[in-house]
């Protein structure tokens, strides 16, 4: 039987929850073992180190989220709308999975500099999705000639901050802020001096 992948998945799941709860540094391998009903030795049979395990968790989550974002973008009526859909889908996903949000947005830093590269990589993947849509929106004349790279950082930074604020303040779900946030971000991209070439349906 091919239990291999199955077991790895079980470990990844437990590790994600522990990392999300405690942060990288305060997460204990033994705790992950407890939640997996597996000994430390067993864990280390599947992953060579705590660091590898953490990265595997990050990759798994990032993949899921990026996939979801890309799929959501597919449903967009226009490139700009696709970008909006991608943004909102991520916001929704994080809203309903607080642990995941914690993990992705804050809990990695305690790892030290090694995390920076991974954080960068994950954000870059999201940024790439946004940039792609915005570039197309630019060509389609939906938005003005802005620096899409910078714009993507504005989008992600805003998203990040909204989520962080939610995590730390126990306020209302960031999902509620989505419409207004979308409005703000899109408004910043519209042609400054008059109308875009194509009338575009609102989402």
């Amino acid at each position: 039987m091919q239990h291999r992948t199955e077991t790895r998945e079980r470990i990844l799941e437990a590790a994600a929850s522990v990392f999300a709860d405690k942060g990288y540094h305060d997460a204990l391998i033994d705790e992950i073992g407890r939640r997996t009903s597996m000994s430390k030795g067993g864990l280390y049979f599947h992953f060579p180190s705590k660091e590898h395990l953490f990265f595997a968790v990050m990759d798994r989550l990032a993949n899921k989220l990026v996939q979801r974002a890309e799929k959501a973008a597919t449903g967009g009526s226009t490139p700009l709308n696709a970008a909006e859909e991608a943004l909102v889908s991520v916001l929704n996903e994080l809203s309903t999975h607080k642990r995941l949000a914690r993990l992705l947005v804050t809990q990695g830093y305690s790892m030290g500099s090694a995390f920076e590269a991974k954080r960068s990589e994950v954000f870059e993947r999201f940024a790439a999705v946004i940039v792609d849509k915005l570039e197309k929106a630019k060509i389609a004349g939906e938005i003005s000639d802005v620096d899409t790279d910078l714009a993507s950082r504005v989008w992600l930074g805003s998203l990040n901050e909204v989520v962080v604020h939610w995590l730390f303040s126990n306020g209302t779900s960031p999902k509620d802020a989505a419409p207004e946030l979308k409005r703000l971000l899109v408004a910043s991209l519209r042609s400054p001096s008059g109308s875009a070439s194509g009338g575009v349906p609102e989402s």
Copy 2:
């Protein structure tokens, strides 16, 4: 002689640099001692714990930055312009003090949950400055009727992300991005359906 404050300041300075370089967790008290030419015992005479020391460092930096931002805002020709000036001043300050940027923007998380409250507090102080100016700008008719609280988070989130990207990618100074960033952020606040009531000089 009143060496007390002086010495405290020296320690704070050294601690800031060590925390910025290594992050909270990897920063060693002994290293701070080395850079202060003071023994561990001496350090502990002035600060009761590593955590207290870190918080003191954070407070000191936050105060400096907020003061600078508020002063910069004073020079604004209009409320909106004041908000822009505040934003740019912070961006400039962080651009020229990479260590300070690291410390404020990422290195605290490794402390664990205790840091969250402090991070929140510091960001909230900046947000308050922005919100204040934007509210006035709203009254002055410079901007449309947006959620200034959310807008402040968009501003700070964008600022944060631009800085983080700079820190992790060794790209060009975020100062260079300031004009375009300012344009994007301000554009998102203009009246959506036509012109604002007052013509406003560009900064």
